[in-house]
Symmetry: C2
Subunit: 480 residues, 2 copies
């Protein structure tokens, strides 16, 4: 690979899709597997997922949710037990038909989602009110055969995710759980990944197959397309009835339980790349960066080297004592310029440069990745690094919010809708609530209802399509 191929060779504005793929591959987050539709995560990509997992695990635990494990194989007969659910997933299921040279009896599905498997078990595990609430989360993968072109983190046939499944005595408690989870999702995405989201409900057409309703968080990407960032479903008794998830209450009367399910996937990593990246490559929010600060020592001779390296070690120790993740780039035979480009491509939030002149001036140069600004810090100000990292995290969210707002329009007129949809964006447009209008808009513009934001229900305007009275102002957008 020639040096000219190392960096990103296309501008984010010129070809967003190609830019995205280059960033994913060249920043070594992921790579294509030798099978269509599948990708592999390299350590720098997987560590972002590990960071998110740790944050979610802490928040889930505080909410009384524990983790479990489910196998990947689900018999066809079981998957078919809730019929709408089955019909929704059936076309994209991978089927196992043989083990060794033997045919398996009932075909085995690779899990597209685990409701049917989990609830078969829950119905065994739950006998009385004492066993409730039951709240279990599963970190695993789901498999859905994708026929469209593969896009790392966004469109793959196997993806990492978590799926939570809870069971409650009352409808009220289950519905509260749906909202608690959505809140955990929203806060985590905003605080850790610095991505603003809009929360609300999916329309009937777009809800999870089998749910009573689906709550969602959606984000607008810089190319004007919407990305579903996570969903939390109220299942009502739709699954507890066919799967017989029942409990005896204190009076020994049996009831069907109330259920929820919810999940986020590695799409969140895709959203992070798209939202923050630039023409030099990836830009990582400090909280999820595997390395937060990279130190590049600069020297020309052995004498200079010793002085520089001893100061570098001092700074490294000071930063590590504050639990900052530091890496010293000591690689020999590579120029400082090459190293700068390399770490910019990888999106490391802060780069410290330190050479003989800096030693003379008793200061270091600190380069911020997200806005490419450089500041000088004296040796006595090293403790400011952690504050700078916190500021970067906040600034990245602010910048992303601005970007999202610029991509959001209030549109009540359908000809304006059609004219502007090519450029993308979130359109706040009144809707009468009828499936027909929703479908027509989708057919004619490619835009769908991404979310009906909380607070945008019960509006009294005119449907952007049929001009009849609106029941809500959903966000319409073309999606990933």
């Amino acid at each position: 690979m020639g040096k000219e191929d190392v960096g990103i060779t296309i501008s984010k504005n010129d070809d967003f899709s190609e830019w995205y793929t280059q960033v994913v591959l060249k920043a070594k987050l992921a790579d294509y597997a030798p099978i269509k539709g599948l990708i592999v995560l390299r350590p720098d990509g997987y560590s972002i997922w590990e960071s998110l997992r740790n944050t979610f695990d802490k928040k889930f635990a505080k909410n009384g949710i524990r983790n479990g494990f489910l196998p990947i194989l689900i018999p066809e007969s079981l998957l078919g037990k809730e019929q709408k659910h089955f019909a929704g997933f059936n076309p994209e299921v991978f089927w196992v038909t043989h083990s060794g040279t033997n045919e398996v009896g009932d075909r085995l599905a690779l899990r597209p989602t685990s409701e049917t498997l989990a609830y078969t078990l829950y119905s065994k595990w739950i006998q009385s009110w004492r066993d409730l609430p039951l709240k279990i989360n599963f970190w695993n993968t789901a498999l859905r055969a994708e026929i469209k072109a593969t896009k790392p983190f966004l469109r793959t046939s196997e993806f990492l995710w978590q799926e939570g499944h809870t069971v409650h005595i009352t409808q009220k408690e289950a519905e509260e759980e749906v909202m608690k989870i959505l809140d955990i999702y929203e806060k985590t995405v905003e605080e850790e990944l610095a991505i603003p989201v809009i929360t609300g409900k999916k329309s009937e057409k777009e809800k999870f197959v089998g749910a009573v309703y689906t709550t969602t968080m959606e984000s607008i990407m810089p190319d004007g397309k919407a990305l579903q960032m996570g969903t939390s479903h109220f299942l009502g008794q739709n699954f507890s009835k066919p799967f017989e998830v029942k409990f005896a209450d204190k009076d020994n009367v049996e009831h069907f339980a109330w259920q929820t399910s919810w999940g986020v996937s590695w799409r969140l990593i895709g959203a992070m790349i798209m939202t923050h990246g630039d023409d030099r490559g990836l830009v990582l929010p400090p909280k999820v960066a595997p390395i937060q600060v990279v130190i590049v020592p600069i020297y020309r001779n052995d004498e200079g080297k010793d002085i520089v390296l001893s100061k570098v070690e001092e700074i490294r120790n000071e930063l590590e004592s504050k639990e900052i993740r530091v890496y010293v780039d000591n690689r020999e035979g590579l120029s400082p310029g090459y190293k700068f480009n390399d770490w910019e491509l990888k999106g490391i939030p802060l780069r410290i440069e330190i050479g003989p002149k800096d030693i003379e001036k008793q200061s270091i140069v600190v380069a911020k990745r997200y806005n490419l600004e450089k500041v000088s810090l004296s040796f006595t100000e090293i403790d400011k690094i952690s504050i700078i990292l916190d500021e970067i995290q906040i600034e990245m969210l602010r910048k992303a919010k601005e970007q999202a707002e610029n991509n959001t329009l209030n549109i009540s007129d359908y000809s304006e809708f059609k004219a502007k949809i090519e450029k993308g964006g979130f359109f706040n447009s009144p809707w009468c609530g009828k499936l027909e209008c929703e479908e027509r808009i989708k057919e004619e513009t490619g835009a769908e209802i991404r979310v009906i934001p909380f607070g945008n229900e019960n509006t009294n305007k005119k449907c952007v399509y049929c001009q009849k009275q609106s029941v809500s102002v959903p966000i319409f957008a073309r999606g990933y």
Copy 2:
């Protein structure tokens, strides 16, 4: 379920296999999935796996190993690239033939292990000496169709494990890596799970298909059967050649790299259950117990309740401030006796009982699960709890070592070998090194070479089977 069914209804000595299954199910570690050969982990079981994963992750990270993600599907053509390897796994592979209603072209294997997939990628990722060593670990599951009866954690068609895959410039460095990993495995199993292991090499017959040699750690279970606890393989260039894992050295000359692979699975949890459990159920080593101390408040009226509960909260806070994992069993309508049995079944290391009489005496009763001993601690001695937990951890390993030693015999005479093998055990028996003797012994006794312990090579004795000069003293045993 009647109360009489709650506890373990069979003695560990009377029917070890049935006892084991009861403990797994009734302590709610795992359950059978609705498909033959597969199990599900409930939170109490999965948390032990999470604890092990966290410990291994820390040790791997210190050794420069990072985590990644590989998809579960491997095309048949790729799996067949190293032929011995393929022949070894082929009979137990699950095959995907369809996605939706479409036939897939090349059949897709559910990963039985990931060497072939990982090394296809490694050959892309590695160009020069700068890219080495490359050390990546994958926490995932492997699938191997089991035709024998399912046994949770020990014999299942899908199992949780980690598989590490490293690439090195020199043979020496790769062989050192094999040993470093085996050392991490050994220390973790002894220190966390309190299970003694014996380390050494597998015989040619028993090594990993495709490896140059396999190092292993083996344990003897209370029923006299051996359990393989983890393996670390030196792959030499057996995979780097067919998969073209090559690097250019500093002089720009290309070389095939040297490789290792290694793994432990949830079998470790099975070993823990078998080694420490007793007729009352599970016995958890404190380090991996999801709850280390359970507090059972005892009271008869509301007045007593307030006094007891306020003391309980005080103790809980003191223990939690020392990062001890505490649970207060406040469940109403259940007797203290019922609760004691319940927590004993679940193997919680320490139980604190506290009632009005204890308040009067200013002391608590502390019951140790592993030896059922009770001690009294005054309110001023609560800080001793963490010392007691440490002692239990050490004592459990000591007791397990004693158990293992009692199950280990030096046997040089083949008629003694045959007479005693029915009772099981580790037999230190000299061996001439010939496959024929190894196979005959297996056929005639069911015992196989589990491990040739380090230090037991180059012996000058007589083969237990053919009486010719021995080359080593392996451990023979019947295995799981």
